[in-house]
Amino acid sequence: MTPVDHVQVQETDFSVAAEYERLTAANTEDGAVVTFVGRMRDYNQGDRVQSLFLEHYPGMTERALQALVTEARARWRLGRVAIIHRVGRLVPADQIVWVGVTSPHRGEAFAAAEYLMDALKTRAPFWKKEQTEQAERWVEARETDEQRARRWEP
């Protein structure tokens, strides 16, 4: 089976059912499928968040995500890998990001999916601006995300 990557930046929502199908259709080699969905929460730092605007760097974003997939494939034996990240305006409970990984081995599928999310959080050019009841504000990067990403360094 040829490795298949699916990397997509889009304003529209994605379907978990359709994306799961993309990972598994005609795939009898990979016993393990790990998926992550990041969803918009209605609270952040103690404030109710009404909506979110996701800005990105068109052109670089797709390259950065593809580079993360290539790195993951160099570290683990993976079948199919998918990353979808939404941009534009989102409201609470909206899906933001999808990461899906298949592998013959569950340990590699789990590691690769978590690696992709940790690396994406610190290296893919997305920025969130929140609208709370009081104001608009840019979301600050979190040191915990940096720490999580550093765990994967050689």
């Binding site: 999310m117 290296r123 893919a124 840019w138 990067a141």
Partner: protein, 90 residues
């Protein structure tokens, strides 16, 4: 002296994103750049315009030609250089 200039091989395209884009006087500019220098030299040149441009601090992230770059990476005429705050996707 920069924003009205058309792109040319003797300049670089500079992009700003997110909070930084809002704080600076303009979201992108074409900056004269006839020889090779570093990311950090480019940043200091632009920040030296003063006022709001002082927001272009050294703790920002940088991409050269759409790949993450360090402060000492070389910038050549024609490159696309982007400055932005730490990313918050996912």
């Amino acid at each position: 002296m920069t924003s009205a200039a058309e792109p040319s091989t003797a300049a670089v395209t500079v992009l700003f994103f997110a909070r930084l884009r809002e704080e600076l006087p303009q979201p992108r500019l074409h900056w004269p750049w006839s020889e090779a220098g570093t990311v950090n030299e480019l940043r200091r040149d632009i920040a030296a315009q003063g006022n709001d441009w002082a927001a272009l601090t050294e703790d920002l992230l940088v991409a050269v030609n759409q790949e993450m770059a360090g402060p000492e990476q070389t910038v050549k005429p024609g490159d696309e250089v982007a400055f932005f705050p730490p990313v918050t996707g996912g």
